[in-house]
């Protein structure tokens, strides 16, 4: 072990980005708060303000633009589909540009389409930029130490998450084994049902052995210490404040410029 590690609580990566100095809980909270203006309104201005604010925010936090665009790629494919259907089938109003029976393209439906397009991006951006790279271990630390969720629950879940990767391998092996045993020609549904049962058996076995290992290392009491403390700092406070201002500002702007539509 290199001496550099002695006495240090290691984290997944050195905190070179501002983003890494935010507590995982803050990152989740930002995503949730940003939902509020987007869900209660359906106009284009509030969504655009939120999106711009978010974009500026995550870039300031140190997320690289090319990386961000790459991860947003699926949204570039999905969002236009949503917008298009709004443009064609949205509630008509104002000047009508096209009228083919069910399909009516009007000023209002076009505005709706624009609002939906921006909104989808505004919804996806914090989820992808802030929560997509969340480390489960860091989140668990925060849930147990800050939100005071029971250690048994949090650590049990964390240890369980590690097993998910193993299940993928198990599933593949089960499929291969059934083929080797002459049972691979059955219909897919029947085969999957019997494989699912096999996977359940495996899961129980793994779960039991994991529980044994955890108990052997003294897990079980509610009193324990934490090798790495998870704390909320000034950075978290500032990030939350900015988030709240942005959310409120977006709704206010919509009211001031009279573009506000409330859902419902």
């Amino acid at each position: 072990m290199t001496s550099a590690h002695v006495g240090l609580a290691p984290s997944q990566s050195p905190p070179t980005r501002l983003l890494d100095r935010l507590n995982p809980l803050t990152r989740v909270a930002i995503g949730l708060v940003m939902l509020v203006p987007l869900v209660i309104t359906i106009d284009w201005l509030s969504a655009a303000i939120v999106l711009l604010g978010e974009l500026l925010g995550v870039l300031l936090l140190g997320v690289k633009l090319p990386q961000l665009l790459r991860r947003l790629l699926p949204i570039f494919l999905v969002a236009p589909i949503g917008a298009l259907s709004m443009a064609l089938y949205g509630k008509p109003g104002g000047r009508v540009h096209l009228d083919w029976g069910v399909i009516v393209v009007s000023d209002q439906s076009l505005a709706l389409a624009g609002a939906v397009l921006v909104r989808v991006f505004a919804l996806a951006l914090p989820a992808i930029a802030l929560m997509g790279s969340l480390d489960p271990t860091d989140l668990a630390d925060a849930l147990a130490q800050i939100l005071k969720l029971p250690a048994r629950f949090v650590l049990g879940t964390l240890a369980g998450v590690r097993m998910v990767g193993l299940f993928v391998d198990d599933w593949r092996a089960l499929g291969q084994a059934r083929r080797a045993r002459g049972l691979g020609d059955q219909g897919r549904l029947r085969r999957w049902a019997s494989m699912a049962f096999g996977l359940l058996v495996q899961a129980l076995r793994r779960g039991t052995s994991l529980a044994t290992s955890m108990e052997a290392r003294g897990f079980g009491g509610n009193q324990r210490t934490w090798a790495r403390s998870s704390r909320l700092t000034g950075a978290d406070a500032i990030a939350m404040l900015v988030t709240l201002l942005l959310a409120a500002g977006a709704v206010m702007a919509a009211i001031v410029f009279d573009t506000l539509w409330i859902t419902g």
């Binding site: 072990m1 590690h5 002695v6 006495g7 240090l8 609580a9 290691p10 984290s11 997944q12 990566s13 489960p136 271990t137 964390l158 240890a159 590690r162 990767g165 193993l166 198990d170 593949r172 092996a173 089960l174 291969q176 084994a177 059934r178 083929r179 080797a180 045993r181 002459g182 049972l183 691979g184 020609d185 019997s194 096999g198 058996v201 495996q202 076995r205 793994r206 052995s209 994991l210 044994t212 290992s213 955890m214 108990e215 052997a216 290392r217 003294g218 897990f219 079980g220 009491g221 009193q223 324990r224 210490t225 934490w226 090798a227 790495r228 403390s229």
Partner: protein, 523 residues
């Protein structure tokens, strides 16, 4: 340190006692090797000592078992347990966190945790970054991680339950070396269970042998126990150091390269000889994921009537090769080609896919049964039935074999595999060695021309090992090609007629006939 008085343990739902009438005292600093025949309850004792059995829903105990005068469940952290499966002990995502886990549970103040973590990792020689993902560790490294987690808790007793059974020779050395360093202070008590006595014989100073019907068969210094109780130990299946292999090394000669063209009558396997190539590969590249090929450009042959062994360090792609040869994993590029004699008729497999007779990956599942059989590394993966007898019958039934014949063949195999008394048991409740034999039996049942075995001797004591080797030899004598992926040196010494040695370095591998001790003249 540890005292047991007429102690016994029975798993919930089992009639027989796993251990009973055990009287034993182990002093601090002693190094004890615990032996016994398969099914004498060795592995049961270890979790019990670690304080993790013992709750009423898992089974019941009789008598007393005390660690430092207290019940083991009240001495958590004092006793460290390392199990067979390296995966079993890993709890968290990062190496450092995993070692720290036990310390946190013992409520060690945070500022003392990381120094202790680093010390422990150093003590077991695991020189990786604290934030290294545990999933990236090799088997030997995972076992040392488990040891580090235990030492960090200042465990005074190390309980090792076949810690090297799943490891390659390199991993065995790593773990053996780490344990040797840990007990060098003569303060740490060591209790190790292992069939392969050789690994630990010169580290321990006491050997305890459990009798199958309860109580002790022998107890004393290694040399004395091995000398005085040699015959009883051999009979119990213990790998006594220095004893000759339980099967004859003669009469099973290495093969030269198969050279003759493919020809044979599939209906009569005995007519096959080792000049017939049942499987060949052409510029084969293999891997479980397209992005990560593990071996490239393989040109191999699998000759009939020959025992082929695949060797190489962990992670080099041996199991992947076996799965690819078996027609279970699609080659990333290149081909696996079956000899004309074992090709199935061309047929439609489903709407989308047709059988291409030379390529096993395209065959129907049922076609594989009589042609290429596979025993998986983890026997549990291939169990599909509720009883041992049904498990063997599954393949025969899929082939549409008449019921009377299925029963006869099943009974015969159960007898050969020494599983008759377990015919009605659930396959998942068998011991590790029994599961392994059953999985071999499921493949033998349909008499495939090629048999692939992934680590066939894992967890076997000396007696069941010998039975497996005899089964393999009998299959080879019947004209079958048997391909074994193995680390087992003893197995190699009697079954390496044709060796495929995979390495991680250079890209190209060709197979070679091995010549242990004598020139490899064709028979």
């Amino acid at each position: 340190m540890i005292t047991a008085e007429s102690w016994g343990w029975r798993h919930a739902g089992r009639k027989a006692w796993a251990v009973r009438n055990l009287d034993l005292t182990i002093d601090p600093g002693e190094r004890v090797l615990l032996l016994g025949a398969s099914g004498s309850g060795k592995s049961t004792r270890l979790p019990a000592l670690a304080g993790v059995l013992g709750s009423a829903d898992e089974g019941e105990s009789t008598g007393t078992m005390l660690v430092k005068g207290k019940h083991p469940t009240r001495q958590k952290g004092l006793v460290a347990l390392v199990q067979q499966d390296p995966e079993a002990a890993v709890v968290l995502h990062r190496v450092g966190d995993d070692v720290a886990f036990g310390l946190e549970n013992l409520q060690v103040p945070p500022d003392q945790i990381w120094p202790r973590v680093s010390e422990s990792l150093e003590a077991v020689g695991l020189d990786v970054a604290l934030n290294r993902p545990t999933s990236a560790l090799s088997g030997g490294q995972k076992q040392r991680l488990a040891l580090a987690g235990a030492i960090a808790m200042h465990a005074e007793v190390l309980l090792l339950d076949e810690p090297t059974a799943n490891l390659d020779p390199e991993g065995i050395d790593e773990v053996r070396g780490a344990v040797g360093r840990l007990v060098a202070d003569r303060r740490t008590t060591l209790i190790v269970v292992e069939h392969r006595v050789q690994v630990w014989a010169d580290l321990v100073d006491r050997v305890v042998v459990l009798a199958r019907d309860g109580g002790l068969l022998a107890d004393g210094p290694p040399l004395e126990v091995f000398h005085r109780h040699r015959d009883a130990l051999l009979e119990a299946g213990v790998w006594v150091p220095g004893a000759p292999l339980p099967v004859d090394g003669d009469g099973f000669v290495p093969r030269d390269h198969p050279t003759a063209p493919d020809s044979a009558d599939f209906a009569d396997p005995v007519a096959r000889n080792h000049h017939e190539r049942l499987l060949t590969t052409a510029d084969l590249t293999i891997g479980r994921h397209a992005q990560h090929p593990v071996q490239r450009h393989l040109d191999l042959t699998i000759p009939a009537a020959t025992s082929t062994v695949v060797t190489g360090p962990n992670g080099v792609g041996k199991s992947t090769l076996a799965l690819t040869l078996a027609g279970l994993l699609e080659p990333l590029s290149g081909e696996v080609i079956a000899a004309p004699a074992i090709r199935p008729p061309a047929a439609r497999r489903s709407l989308m896919r047709r059988v291409s007779p030379p390529h096993p990956i395209t065959w129907r599942s049922r076609d594989l049964l009589t042609r290429i059989g596979t025993v998986f590394q983890q026997p549990e993966h291939q169990f599909v039935a509720a009883t041992v007898a049904d498990e063997i019958a599954v393949g025969l039934r899929a082939l549409g074999t008449p019921t009377a014949e299925v029963t006869a063949r099943t009974d015969e195999l159960l007898e050969v595999l020494h599983l008759t008394r377990l015919a009605r048991a659930n396959p998942f409740t068998l011991s590790g060695g029994e599961k392994r034999r059953l999985s071999v039996g499921t493949v033998l049942a349909t008499q495939p021309a090629v048999i692939l075995l992934d680590e066939p001797t894992f967890g076997q004591d000396r007696n069941t090992w010998a039975e497996l080797v005899r089964l393999v030899r009998a299959s080879v004598d019947e004209g079958r090609a048997v391909v074994s992926v193995t680390h087992d040196q003893a197995y190699l010494s009697v079954l390496a007629q044709h060796r495929i040695a995979l390495t991680g370095g250079p890209d190209r591998h060709d197979d070679e006939a091995t010549t242990p001790g004598r020139a490899g003249a064709p028979r």
